[in-house]
Every structure is written in structure tokens, then in C-alpha cells.
């Protein structure tokens, strides 16, 4: 508890300890009270396997989309000077503070069957996003993208622009510098943003159910299945939560050595 700078002060250690307890205690309680004996039986059910597969699929695709769209947006926010940049950054962050159900309602008003874009799109092509797996992915991208943009923008800002400038003086085009200098330097931030987005997608419930609905195999993800089980089979709901918890832990542990170690 002490190093060359002296003892760590109690007024920092005590809140730090409380914070740890607050985060860890509920999860430990879930592990302790979960009906482990039901785990095997639950894992065998069609509903769980479908929901799990759909959750992993949509979270992964959504994370990919977040990277494809979020990296360029983060680069624009960090590297291009233009009027309204601060406004744009604020707008990008708004979905972070929206209650997910409101995010769902917002998505419905834009892309729903009666939405501003959804209605003409459906009239012209017969396609519509609600009740489809693509709708789930759109909902996930909407709630996860801000994490990716903020995380990557932070990384781009701390990777100083001088390196880009150096690349430019050596004759690199801006696109070449972006690929070979900017992105490699921001890689830890990019990775962290993607992990956050994936985790956020995996747990996403409110926007998904409001926008895309709930049907096994098409739109029913793990959180929806858990929510529906709480009313009628609370024990099953705990087991399902356990599966989701273990799955996300497994992924975080698998990624930890590569990306998440900060020291």
C-alpha cells in the first residue's frame, strides 16, 4: 500500500474499496444464489441456444459496423477542424444518456414502418427493419457507436498529430498516413472501444425490444429472454443471466492479455 511516493491515502482507498464492493457484490450474489443444477438443463433448451447465438451474432456484426463507421467519424472529430465540431461531438454522445427504451422509440420514429425514413423505404422496396435481425443490429449500433467514437477519438487525440505531420513531410498521402501511422498508434483505443461496444450490444435490451420486437430465432436476444423469464420462471432467469455473465467474462478474459492490460 505504499511506494516511493508514500502511503496511499485512506480517503482514496476507502471509496475505492466501496466502489469495488458495489460492483462485485451483486455479481457474486448472483453466482451464489443461482441454481447451478439447472444450468445443464437450461443449456440444452432450443430457446437459449437460439437467443445466445443471435446475441453473439448481432453483437459481433454491430461491433464491426461500429468500427467501419465509428473510426472515420472519430478521425474527423479528432483531426479535421470545421465549424460545428463541438456540436457534432455532443450529438454523437447523446445516445449514451438516452434511456434505451427512448432510443428504441427514436429508432421507430426514424426507421419504423411508419417512420420518417421507414415508411418511404417500405413503400419503395417492401423492406422494413422492425421484426428483423437487421433491425436488432441497427438498434445495437445506435447504442454502441458512441462508445467506439469516444474511445477512438480519445486515442487519436493522445496520439499526437505531429506523427501524421511527420508522415506527410516524408511524402505520405493523408490516407496512407491514416493507415500506416494514425491507426496503429490508436490501436489500443480502437480495441477498447470495440470491446465496450460488443459488451454494450450483448446486454442491450430496451432499444432492441422497442424497435425490433421479440421473436425466437429472429429478434430474441439473451437479455429479452431473461427479462421474459423473470415473470414466470425466476430461477431460469438467474441461470440465463449466469450464462450471459460467463460468456462475457470468457470474452473479456480472452481479450485481456492482448488489449485490456493498461500497464
Amino acid at each position: 500500500m505504499s511506494d516511493s511516493l508514500g502511503r496511499a491515502p485512506a480517503r482514496l482507498l476507502v471509496p475505492a474499496g466501496l466502489a469495488t464492493l458495489l460492483l462485485v457484490l451483486p455479481l457474486v450474489s448472483l453466482l451464489l444464489t443461482a441454481p447451478w443444477s439447472m444450468l445443464g438443463e437450461q443449456l440444452g433448451t432450443e430457446a437459449l441456444r437460439q437467443a445466445m447465438w443471435l446475441s453473439v451474432l448481432t453483437a459481433t456484426v454491430a461491433t464491426g459496423v461500429c468500427l467501419l463507421l465509428g473510426l472515420p467519424l472519430a478521425w474527423v472529430l479528432a483531426r479535421v477542424d470545421f465549424p460545428g465540431r463541438r456540436l457534432l461531438r455532443t450529438l454523437v454522445i447523446v445516445p449514451l444518456v438516452l434511456p434505451p427504451v427512448v432510443a428504441g422509440v427514436a429508432l421507430v420514429s426514424a426507421f419504423g414502418r411508419t417512420g420518417i425514413i421507414g415508411e418511404p423505404l417500405r413503400a419503395a422496396t417492401g423492406l422494413s427493419l422492425p421484426y428483423t435481425t437487421a433491425g436488432v443490429i441497427v438498434a445495437h449500433v445506435f447504442v454502441s457507436l458512441p462508445f467506439v467514437v469516444i474511445s477512438i477519438e480519445g486515442a487519436l487525440r493522445s496520439a499526437h498529430q505531429e506523427y501524421d505531420a511527420a508522415a506527410a513531410t516524408l511524402g505520405a498521402s493523408r490516407w496512407h498516413a491514416f493507415r500506416t501511422v494514425t491507426v496503429p498508434l490508436a490501436l489500443p483505443g480502437i480495441a477498447a472501444g470495440m470491446v465496450l461496444a460488443w459488451a454494450r450490444s450483448l446486454g442491450e435490451f430496451g432499444a432492441t425490444i422497442t424497435f425490433a420486437g421479440n421473436y425466437p430465432g429472429t429478434t430474441q436476444t439473451m437479455p429479452t429472454l431473461i427479462y421474459l423469464s423473470i415473470n414466470s420462471h425466476p430461477e431460469a432467469a438467474k441461470t440465463l443471466s449466469l450464462v450471459l455473465l460467463l460468456l462475457s467474462l470468457a470474452v473479456l478474459v480472452a481479450l485481456r492479455d492482448r488489449w485490456l492490460v493498461t500497464s
Partner: protein, 249 residues
């Protein structure tokens, strides 16, 4: 010295926060009614009636899902009356010891088919809804189980596009035009007014959803609680429920 200033500001603030609590002891009597969310409109009407008939009585209504309310009552949540939208939740409260006396069945609610006001799929009734984009409650919730039972009875094999988490979500999808048809309770359809059009479901009257009411063990004034029960079962109360779309026994 920041700390004393902070203290000087905080103490009066804390005192102010506590004041309203101590000011509660005036002479109005309060009864708290825990009721299923589908009873919102009708119980609000009855609340006014009850308060007009009883001077100095304040009725507090708390709406929620029947199961949640029954569990809260069993946990000792303050309340005088419990009204549930199914028998199972009332059994839960009886078994948990919070509902005292014999629960009374005071209304039933039949499942109906609703479509958006502009009826985009041009549905004319139960016979031609099944090929549209329709929704119902999930199998895990009572309105979903009832829908499944009626759909099986009527040999409908088509699947919905979505199985919503509760009946209000189904209604919202229809009222906003996000789905072509859906199954809700008659009281929900009435509450939605002009936003939806309603069609009967064959056999729904034979499988109505029963509503039960009982006084609670923790009631501070069981006579007054009983009077609320009496009002609900009275001709006056039953008329209010019928106007809200319920059927009465």
C-alpha cells in the same frame, strides 16, 4: 475552511427535507389500493367517487403488474386492498398470507383483436388477420398464454412477427401503426379509444381473464378497505368497469 461552510449549508437543507414527513399527521385517512395496470382508468373514476362519498379519506392508487404487486404485498408493502388481473397472482398473495378473507371475482376481461385506426392491412375480422404482420404477448406472460390458447382453438397456424413483453407493448405497436394487428384485452382496446379498431375473437368469452380483489393483512383500516371492495362490486362500480371494456360477473 470549506468544511464548516458545507456543513452550515447542508444541515438546514437536511432539516427542510425532513419537514414534510413530520407534517403528515393531519386528520385525513388514507387507503392505499394496489391494482393491476389494466384497472388504471376505471379505478381512477372510482377513486373520485369514493372520496366524494367519504369525507377526509384520501385514496392512493398504485398500479403495476399483478405478480409484482402480489409479491410486494407479501413483502409487507403498505396497502389496504389488492386487485389482480389473474387468479394466479391472487393465489400468490393468499398463500403468502397478505390477502385476508375470501378474494372476490369482480370483473373479467376478454381478449380482442385490434388493428390500427387506418387499418393498413385492410383486416375485416378474425378470419383474415393471420397473414398480416401481427403481434401478440409472449408465451411467458398471461396475455400471451391466453392468445396461444385461443389461436390453437381457432386453428390459426401462422406465427406473429413479434412476441411482445406485455399487453401495453402490443397495444403501442398497433396504435402507432408498427404492426397490422394484435391481441389485447378489451379494456386496453377501449382505453386506446380512436387509435385502434376492435374485433371479437371467437371463443374469447369462454376464456375470460378473471379479476380478483381482496383486503390486505397490513391494512390499517380494514372497514374502509372493505368499503372499497363494496364499491367495486356495487352496481355503480360494475357500470364503471363495463364502460372501461370489462365484463362483469
Amino acid at each position: 475552511m470549506p468544511r464548516p461552510i458545507l456543513t452550515r449549508l447542508l444541515v438546514p437543507a437536511a432539516v427542510c427535507l425532513l419537514l414534510p414527513l413530520s407534517a403528515c399527521g393531519d386528520d385525513t385517512t388514507e387507503i392505499k389500493v394496489l391494482a393491476a395496470a389494466s384497472l388504471t382508468e376505471s379505478f381512477q373514476t372510482l377513486e373520485k367517487q369514493f372520496e366524494d362519498d367519504h369525507d377526509g379519506v384520501d385514496v392512493k392508487l398504485s398500479f403495476g403488474s399483478s405478480t409484482t404487486l402480489a409479491e410486494q404485498a407479501n413483502d409487507g408493502a403498505p396497502g389496504d386492498v389488492l386487485a389482480t388481473a389473474d387468479e394466479k397472482s391472487m393465489d400468490l398473495a393468499v398463500d403468502g398470507g397478505s390477502a385476508t378473507g375470501e378474494p372476490t371475482k369482480f370483473a373479467t376481461n376478454a381478449l380482442v383483436l385490434v388493428v390500427p385506426a387506418d387499418n393498413p392491412a385492410k383486416i375485416t375480422g378474425f378470419d383474415d388477420f393471420a397473414d398480416s404482420d401481427w403481434v401478440r404477448c409472449d408465451d411467458e406472460v398471461p396475455c400471451g398464454r391466453l392468445a396461444v390458447s385461443l389461436l390453437e382453438e381457432n386453428e390459426v397456424e401462422q406465427e406473429p412477427v413479434s412476441r411482445e413483453v406485455d399487453v401495453k407493448s402490443v397495444l403501442a405497436k398497433i396504435a402507432s401503426g408498427e404492426a397490422d394487428a394484435g391481441f389485447v384485452y378489451a379494456s386496453d382496446a377501449v382505453a386506446a379509444g380512436d387509435d385502434v379498431k376492435m374485433f371479437p375473437v371467437p371463443g374469447a368469452d369462454e376464456q375470460p381473464n378473471p379479476y380478483f380483489i381482496a383486503t390486505l393483512d397490513q391494512s390499517g383500516d380494514s372497514d374502509l378497505a372493505q368499503e372499497w371492495l363494496d364499491l367495486v362490486s356495487s352496481d355503480e362500480g360494475q357500470k364503471v368497469l363495463e364502460e372501461a371494456g370489462f365484463s362483469t360477473p
